[in-house]
Symmetry: C2
Subunit: 434 residues, 2 copies
């Protein structure tokens, strides 16, 4: 409630906002991912959050999904971006003659979807994408590079990941073989929810689309193929002669060879990986934490990024780390053990040593120690109380004797043990790389 | 122009967007500033870009400036933030019982102002703020900490900065002495543009506000005081007995002592520093690059951050680096010498060494070398052409012999000199800390 005559301070519902310690941990997470992207020769992109509505809605032919934040200002009809892919397509189309292809970019940014807020769903949240865009064509090596990049992201976070990979052409080819290509989208939607609905319901839905009992069994069984990619391919070579199906197997096999060259270890074949997005046309993958059932990221190959904006054919392959979800899983699992915002050491001064304490703090910070002088609390007692309230691990007492002798009293607040240290030894104690 | 049946890909006017190399440099800049903030025990904050309109516009009593992006979705009236200060006030007011005070936070984020686009002015641009908020009161040490932080930001960027500092109470006190406190805002506006308009015009405007000739002279001369803070204070002690004026001198003098404790070197007193914002009430400062006349950042002390939201008194002091302007100055000045997106080395393979090349690339990347295998170009010749087009500095040729001997041919593309190197020596050559 607001105080009298005041506006009640409140945040929009469904918008993510973290407290400082969580925010510091989240920002460390992003920093690590950025490091991986840069290390792997992906370049950063940062597009505006607002775009012309006709550009952002090109895909839907101008139809506005009710989830989208759209408004006009002056004569301009604009939207807040709902993903990072359409802005990438717009950027690549605009600059197709200036960019180096394959164009490898990453982007970490906020996107907006005005859906009903619910647990784990936000109206403003981060996406973290990396894509490789080709000019005209793009080798399957790029698919392997994206899977490898995805694996490296989790390695950098010291998390065990399991990447389940498929190739959409395999199922597409079999659907072609059944003469059901006109129903492909509906069939994929059913196959995508096999682990969420009873088998009988799935079969009934497939029957409605005209698949016989035998065909239902066969296509469902096809999605149950999991294991080493090479073995799945070997097993299915004679399953179906359809050329798309065979091309899917060829690509799947070639991908496995490239993945080996990239030293990718955490990958397994799983034809049950569908990916909701209709635009994936080849490789698709999802990543799971050890024992996890909810994907923490995904990716895949698409035929043409820029179809709405340009006549040039620009195939691509991308990966996305679900950082909002990942962060919430990691927070629940106790992955973050330390308080990221805590100072290394809190400095406590007396009336006549404030400046000596501030100077010591400055010099410690210059050497990489996160020292913080508790200058706000007035008395020694109040300062010690403040240090306790902040859960300070170490307190450095700067009295007249200490300053004179250049020998400071460091108190371990957990053990209550004290030791006298010179400046140089303080730096050594608190810098990790010393 | 759009191709037939296509949407023309275009970006909203006045919205900032960088090409990959510039973006990589800009993101390095932000990374360095973040490092400084963290090192100095400031914690990150990341508030939503959208806020309730009544919250964001609390200051103006709900009046909407035409610059503000405001719209409704469903029943919700919301705005895009136009600065990072109001969201900070909202956050601090909401969480005043959970936060540690003094609360030291930094935030780097996009803000929105729908002003007419012009050179150097954008509708979407970054702000980079760091503030210290007190609970009830806040020591002048915090002012010095902000000035020190500002200096360290530029030190980290290896830029020479000159910080010009004043204390608003000095001029306010003199205006009080003249019995013109009710005209203080107008007087400050005139004094703030002394270096932009002819002196006679300024005097005429001051005369309109009721200042005598002698008073005009005196107040204008007051703003001309520059130099060592202690000397300005000494010189002005007997200038005026007004208690606010004297308090301003006391604070100014105390600040100088704190600044010395923080080892701040690049600071100079200048009573001509006004700062447009009406809410600054004590220390104010602006930062300039060597010989620069346009401020590249600024800051100051304000009496109460949260007055619109809370009955608690929360004084604060902050600093802001004008990163959009700074980046454009640095780009023009040739500060950025390298192409940030270039790979360290481009790998060229033959038909039968693709996988060996990819594996070598993977292993080099794992060791911190930004190696990139040109897998898209088909022939050796096309790959060399591609390396040239990308201005590759080094090309690593991976042929059958190289793989067999584990000895790779590295070609310096500038000198055309070649040498044969083992994997370990390649790593040494391309990692900075080796």
């Amino acid at each position: 409630m607001a105080a009298k005559g005041k506006i009640e301070p409140r945040k929009l519902k469904g918008f993510w906002e973290l407290m400082p310690n969580e925010q510091a941990l989240f920002s460390d997470l992003l920093e690590k991912l950025e490091k991986v992207f840069k290390q792997n020769c992906f370049v950063p992109l940062d597009t505006p959050i607002l775009e012309y509505s006709d550009v952002l809605l090109a895909k839907s032919g101008g139809d506005v999904d009710k989830e989208i934040y759209r408004f006009t200002k002056g004569d301009t009809d604009m939207c807040m971006r709902y993903d990072l892919t359409v802005p990438l397509a717009r950027f690549v189309s605009m600059h197709q003659n200036e960019l180096n292809f394959p164009f490898k970019r990453y982007q970490i940014g906020k996107v907006y979807r005005g859906e009903r807020p619910q647990k784990g769903r936000f109206r403003e949240f981060y996406q973290c994408d990396a894509d490789i865009i080709g000019d005209g064509e793009l080798s399957l090596v790029a698919d392997a590079e994206c899977v490898s990049l995805f694996e490296k992201c989790f390695k950098e976070l010291e998390l065990e990941v399991r990447i389940e990979v498929s190739n959409r052409k395999i199922l597409s080819g079999y659907i072609e073989e059944l003469n059901k290509s006109n129903k492909a989208t509906e069939i994929f939607i059913i196959l995508d929810k096999l682990d969420k609905i009873p088998l009988e319901d799935a079969k009934a839905e497939l029957a409605e689309l005209g698949l016989s009992n035998a065909e239902q069994e066969k296509i469902i069984n096809l999605t149950k193929n999991t294991g080493k990619i090479e073995e799945i391919v070997k097993k299915l070579r004679n399953f179906c002669k359809n050329p798309t199906f065979q091309k899917g197997l060829d690509e799947f096999e070639e991908l496995a060879q490239h993945l080996a060259a990239f030293d990718v270890k955490c990958v397994v074949g799983n034809l049950g990986i569908i990916r909701g997005h209709n635009y994936y046309t080849g490789t698709v993958f999802e990543g799971f934490l050890k024992d996890g059932k909810e994907a923490v990221g995904a990716g895949g190959r698409f035929e043409n990024l820029c179809g709405y904006f340009s006549e040039k054919n620009m195939p691509g392959v991308g990966m996305s780390v679900g950082i909002t979800r990942l962060f919430s899983i990691l927070t629940q699992n106790g992955y973050f053990k330390e308080n990221a915002t805590d100072a290394d050491v809190s400095i406590i001064t007396f009336d006549d040593t404030l400046h000596a304490g501030l100077n010591l703090m400055t010099k410690l910070r210059d050497c990489g120690v996160r020292a913080d002088c508790l200058y706000e609390a007035k008395t020694f007692k109040a300062k010690m109380k403040e240090a306790n309230r902040r859960n300070a691990k170490y307190v450095l007492i700067v009295g007249e004797d200490e300053v004179r002798e250049n020998l400071y009293t460091l108190k371990d607040m957990q053990t209550s043990q004290q030791e006298k240290l010179k400046f140089e030894d303080l730096v050594k104690k608190f810098t990790k790389n010393a």
